[in-house]
């Protein structure tokens, strides 16, 4: 199939439609607006629905209602909008509704700016809403992955009856790259639990409330068992030239692209350096990091945040080898040269 040069944000919508999604409820915000705009353009063409809601609170609740009907549905926003969606996400996790949420992260806190940050890691991965819930989180690093991971997100959401987040940054959203779009998903599995608008609906209920503490505990245990299963089966991660590496750099999203350049250039100069890129931020690739520890002596984590993912690396590595951290915030993206300088210092230390 021929490739198409396309913005990451637009690739998300085309991927979603190919995955069988026909419903999009959104609210404009930079740098995620192209997603809503593309959905507004394409959804009606494929007989689907695009609706610009009155707020992110409304849009996530429209998604909640639509997901109750067993179809594939999504919403997209950027950091401040995601904060507003958190209540609805918690409800969806509690009611075990499959839905896809895209967060094109921007600078914060507050209104911050529209430049890329990765400072929503904690709110998305650790649960910005209330309650004992988890989102599956996929972190694309290219326009191709914006399409592929959106499609995968729908599959995972349906498989586990759980909300899935595609967590990207402004750069991956704005960037154009060639994308090879796969053929459309022809048939989706029926969801017996979902409302069908038929006589059996009297047996079906979409709800997150459970008054009895024992019963709510049982529901929570069931959720935790599901999360444990996901942790076993769904970790995704990429390693790049780590086999003989003494130092490994870890980063996701646009940072992993920059780190690849860092690795390539330093390898030319004979440095034994590799990269690990978490693709699923939850479940976090702890076993893969663990595996590095038999030969790697140092780790450098790079993030566009105050140090959020690095905590998960620390939880994995503990104090077995030194973990260093380098970050930029506020929308400043580090250059490969800047990181190379840091890495060389670590090699020389």
């Amino acid at each position: 199939m021929a490739k198409q040069l396309i913005k990451g944000n637009e690739a998300i919508v085309k991927g979603a439609v190919l995955a069988g999604c026909r419903y999009f409820f959104g609210y404009p915000i930079t740098p995620a607006s192209e997603i809503a705009e593309a959905a507004a353009y394409y959804m009606p063409q494929v007989g689907g629905t695009f609706l610009q809601a009155e707020s992110e609170i409304a849009s996530i609740n429209m998604v909640y209602g639509a997901a109750s009907g067993g179809i594939r549905v999504m919403t997209a926003s950027s950091s401040p909008g995601i904060s507003l969606k958190m209540e609805g996400i918690s409800y969806a996790a509690g009611s075990e509704l499959p839905l896809v949420l895209v967060d094109i992260m921007r600078g914060g806190p507050g209104l911050g700016n529209i430049a890329p940050e990765q400072s929503d890691y904690n709110q998305i991965v650790k649960g910005g809403g209330h309650g004992n819930y988890k989102l599956l989180v996929l972190a694309p690093a290219s326009a191709q992955e914006m399409c592929d991971f959106t499609m995968l997100a729908f599959d995972l959401a349906d498989r586990y009856r759980n909300p899935v987040c595609v967590l990207a940054d402004g750069f991956i959203g704005q960037m154009m790259e060639p994308v090879d779009f796969p053929p459309p998903v022809e048939k989706l599995a029926d969801k017996p639990w979902a409302l069908h608008c038929d006589a059996d609906d009297e047996k079906r209920l979409i709800s997150s409330i459970e008054l009895e503490p024992e019963r709510l505990e049982a529901h929570n245990r069931k959720l935790q068992a599901k999360y444990a299963e996901i942790e076993k089966a769904e970790i995704r991660c990429e390693t790049y030239k780590t086999d003989d590496a003494e130092l490994v750099v870890i980063g996701y999203g646009v940072i992993s692209r920059i780190l690849q350049s860092v690795v390539d250039r330093l390898r030319q100069d004979g440095y034994r350096i590799g990269m690990l890129r978490p693709i699923t931020l939850w479940p976090f690739p702890r076993p893969q990091i663990e595996k590095l520890l038999d030969h790697v002596q140092k780790i450098l984590v790079v993030e566009l945040s105050n140090g959020q993912m690095v905590d998960d690396v620390r939880l994995t590595v503990k104090d077995r080898i030194p973990i260093h951290f380098y970050n930029r915030m506020g929308g400043v993206v580090p250059s490969p040269e800047e990181i190379i300088e840091q890495v060389i210092k670590l090699f020389e230390a």
Partner: protein, 481 residues
Amino acid sequence: MAEKVLKRADSFYPIFERKGGPTPDVTHYCPGCGHGVLHKLIAETIDDFGIRDRTILISPVGCSVFAYYYFRTGNIQSAHGRAPAVATGIKRVFPQSIVISYQGDGDLAAIGTNNILQAANRGEKITVFFVNNAIYGMTGGQMAPTTLIGQKTTTSPMGRKPGNEGFPIRMSELIATLHAPIYVERVALTDAKNSTRVRKAVRKALQNQIDNKGFSFVEVLSVCPSGWKMTPVQAKEWLTQEMIKAFPLGVYKDISDEIEAQPAKGNVFSVQGLREQLNLPEEKVAPATPVNKTATPEKYRNPRLKMAGFGGQGILMLGLGIAQAGMDAGYEVSWIPSYGPEMRGGTANCHVNLSTERIGSPLVTRPTVLIAMNLPSLEKFVDEVVPGGLIITDASLVTQPPARKDLEHLSIPATQIADELGNTRVANMVILGAYIAYTQILDQETVFASLPHFIKQKSLIGLNIQAIKKGIESISSQIKN
């Protein structure tokens, strides 16, 4: 007791299993509560109309949070105030369904006011039953937006004071001002006469949805003996004497007769023609002349390009052209526009990578090629260029060569050439021609073939081809010189 009567309707579950506990045959509502009575009227209407199989009820947050214990229909329990948004979502999925948003006054007129107004304003084809009991029943009798002036609640212990808490909000009046709603009425659950009115309103609001006519809203004044700290008899008295004064009964809007009944059909989707609808390429189109990448001199291979100029000079388009043609020629490519803080000051820049390898950083921080279409851009980025790199400037706007002597410099009178072609805006394509001719990174046929992908106005393609050709010629003449 009213609770027992509930079970008579077929649209109630025979036993309230979801409620469980020692009394699964009675509702959880307090004796005398209006919710139970309204439930009954709704359930009987669903029975009468034979719509139970396709009815979906949205339970709110409030005392009726457990409405799904009782209604033997499809049920969704929603977040506080969000029932109209949830109703919108499910109704869009099943246009043939009968969606009921059942809400209290705190839910609908405080936390969820925007959601109800917007759903009403969109004319969602749903039915809203709004139980106004002037109090937050579920949480123990706090003040509601509909609490009367002077009414004592746990959070207005001295009585509601307009100076502090404002006035009771009249939702029916408010919603009736909107264009889209087709039926808005306020009724009260007091005596038998009023109850007949309630039943009529419930029926009309549901009939409107069966006929797929539009948004119907029924506000039901209802007693909350527990929250009001009254006996059921006192409560009914207070509703009749006091509440109706603040919330006059009546039809506030009804245009349902003006709209034709058009029962809705369900959605059906297909993947037929999807690729075309998504504007996706179907077949691999082979480049006109396959590009021989080794023909490119070593130092120009795998270029990292930065291009910059004034907004309006077509900088982003230039980058897109190189990226598109690069992709068509089989390179890995990336293109990213100036973004975030760099975007200010009326200048534009973009970063493009062409590579035979997987591309790392899409950001070009050390370009091997800098295209500077004006002097500020040259000054801003010249120091980033790698030693031995290539700089291309527009001779018409950059009159001096860069100060750095370790770079190759190509000065192309792009704007002048474009002006001669009759359109200044194709200066970018002149530069593109010069770049591909000088570095032999792409051949002209591939570039020409790629133009329709990023030039939307087909009539301009000829002019752009001309400009590219002129750019190519400018190099051959330089080389001849």
